[in-house]
């Protein structure tokens, strides 16, 4: 099943994506409103920080633009989960109603095929707000810019997004075992809202939970330290890329485990 090359999968993803976008373009109003809704949500996060810092000058040692940096970073890091894995939201319905069985008979990777079916365009609105916020904070902080920094940001953004994808995958896959798993998925998705805060503000118990159990500290805090606190980068930051790959792989195995034991509904 996995013996097809990467080039094959990229080609096939392009084909499916084109079909998906074509069908989405026939609902243009929906596309525009969804995009606006996404931008609204993310802009509200920005405004919240703005209001907060009108009253307070810093949170621990973190000032306004550093918080915006974390926020922008987190928005970009959750874009892949929004764009690429959006079909996970339909998983529990497909599984319960039996439609899921049709994905099991294709001669390509099951996970890949299932997720490739939907590309969520409105996630690009999130990406837009995220890039704007990050660049704005970057300039205001006067961090300077060189090739090395940009490379670091890209590598750490990718590893950060792996953590978010892993959490969402694992939460979605619970639907193979429990009913009404919507709330599990919803909870995992809401956790991302806490990723924009420096994990140091939490007490030791929650710091541990947010680092190793629900690894949201890896979505913005740890990776951002590479740029924001270059003289004082903890070991966990450097471990982010391999850990991200590990978490993602584990979530993938968990997802496939559920899919493999799936029997259909008999209809």
């Amino acid at each position: 099943m996995n013996n097809k090359g990467l080039a094959f999968y990229i080609k096939i993803y392009g084909r499916i994506l084109a079909q998906d976008l074509k069908s989405k373009m026939s609902y243009r109003a929906d596309f525009i409103i969804s995009m606006l809704g996404m931008i609204f949500t993310d802009a509200a996060g920005f405004i919240t920080f703005w209001i907060m810092f009108r009253n307070f000058s810093s949170i621990q040692e973190w000032e306004y633009y550093e918080m915006l940096f974390l926020y922008g970073f987190s928005l970009i890091a959750i874009t892949p989960v929004q764009c690429l894995l959006d079909n996970n939201w339909s998983l529990r319905i497909n599984v319960r109603e039996g439609d899921f069985i049709k994905y099991c008979f294709r001669p390509i990777n099951l996970f890949f095929y299932y997720e490739s079916e939907v590309f969520d365009v409105k996630g690009l609105g999130q990406l837009g707000v995220g890039v704007f916020t990050l660049v704005y904070a970057w300039i205001k902080l006067g961090l300077g810019c060189n090739v090395m920094m940009v490379l670091k940001v890209i590598v750490f953004l990718i590893s950060a997004s792996l953590f978010m994808m892993a959490m969402q995958n694992a939460a979605a896959a619970t639907c193979f075992w429990i009913e009404n798993s919507f709330y599990v998925l919803d909870l995992a998705f809401k956790l991302k809202d806490y990723a924009k805060y420096p994990v140091t503000i939490f007490g030791p118990v929650f710091r541990f939970v947010f680092t190793f159990v629900f690894p949201i500290a890896f979505i913005a805090y740890y990776p951002s330290l590479v740029i924001l606190r270059p003289d004082n980068v903890p070991l966990l930051t450097w471990l982010a890329p391999p850990l991200g790959i590990l978490f993602f792989y584990l979530s993938y195995r968990f997802w496939m485990l559920g899919a493999m034991k799936y029997n259909g509904t008999g209809s």
């Binding site: 609902y27 109003a29 929906d30 409103i33 969804s34 995009m35 606006l36 809704g37 996404m38 609204f40 949500t41 509200a44 405004i47 919240t48 209001i51 907060m52 009108r54 009253n55 307070f56 000058s57 810093s58 949170i59 621990q60 409105k122 429990i178 009913e179 009404n180 919507f182 709330y183 599990v184 919803d186 909870l187 809401k190 956790l191 806490y194 805060y197 503000i201 939490f202 007490g203 929650f206």
Partner: protein
């Protein structure tokens, strides 16, 4: 006459109790949220160095936000989703031919959820907060005013939802419309950041909008130490004005929009 409403209410409560696991996950999620806002505002006030900012202390900010969250979970009806979905699937015609006004039907059908949510989310949170803070919440005549204000808040929230749900007759973008509504309501009602922290200009805008009458009004009344004062009565009066305005708006808008309806087969 009343019976048809109470039957709907009872059915809603039973539906809610059926999903016990989801209630558990919801409660866990809320506990986590509360822990996060506790640590966040603790860090903020620790860094501020002063006891109170804009008249809010750490304790009063936390009480406000915790109760605002509890109120949100208790009062949220998810009307937009339901209206959007029934409009899209065409099932709305079944609701329209019921021998009951559609808007009244929706309100009473969802009131069961709200009643169940009162006992599962608001009441436990309220008791915990009242016990932990030992007297920060005054327990007197303000509770009566609070009850009245909450009911008005629910009606206002329902009307806002109903108006937004009606928009779904024109566009099929339920997700987008709903998320925009939610963002605006949460921000401008003071549920994310207490309104006391809003800068002057933004405060004036917020005062002109109905959203603060949903969560901020009942909360302010609940936390007012002097029982039923003129301020409390004024707040309730404003809520009543909003109920009337929104009731007229939503009914008018619904009536006009109903001519628009297109149902995809059936």
């Amino acid at each position: 006459m009343i019976k048809k409403y109470t039957t709907l209410l009872k059915a809603g409560v039973m539906e809610m109790l059926h999903f016990r696991l989801s209630v558990l996950v919801l409660v866990a999620g809320n506990m986590l949220y509360l822990a996060v806002i506790y640590f966040l505002w603790k860090a903020i006030f620790d860094s501020a160095g002063t006891e109170s900012v804009n008249g809010m202390t750490f304790e009063s900010t936390l009480i406000y936000l915790v109760l605002a969250t509890a109120l949100f979970n208790f009062m949220e009806m998810y009307i937009v989703w339901d209206m959007g979905r029934t409009i899209q699937s065409g099932k709305i015609v079944l609701d329209l031919i019921k021998p009951m006004d559609y808007k009244n039907y929706m309100f009473w059908a969802f009131s069961g959820n709200v009643a169940a949510q009162f006992f599962t989310t608001f009441l436990p949170t309220f008791i915990v907060v009242a016990l932990v803070t030992k007297g920060a919440i005054p327990l007197g005549t303000n509770l009566i005013a609070f009850a009245v204000s909450v009911i008005l808040g629910i009606v206002i929230n329902f009307n806002v939802d109903f108006i937004v749900g009606t928009i779904c007759l024109y566009t099929e973008s339920i997700w987008g419309i709903n998320i925009m509504k939610q963002v605006i309501v949460l921000l401008f009602s003071g549920a994310t950041i207490p309104l006391a922290f809003f800068p002057e200009g933004l405060r004036r805008v917020v005062d002109l909008l109905p959203f603060r009458a949903i969560y901020d009004a009942p909360l302010t009344i609940l936390l007012s130490i002097n029982g039923i004062t003129d301020d409390v009565l004024y707040t309730i009066a404003i809520q009543i004005v909003w109920v009337i305005i929104l009731e007229i708006l939503s009914r008018g808008f619904w009536k006009i929009s109903l001519r628009q309806i297109t149902v995809n087969g059936g």
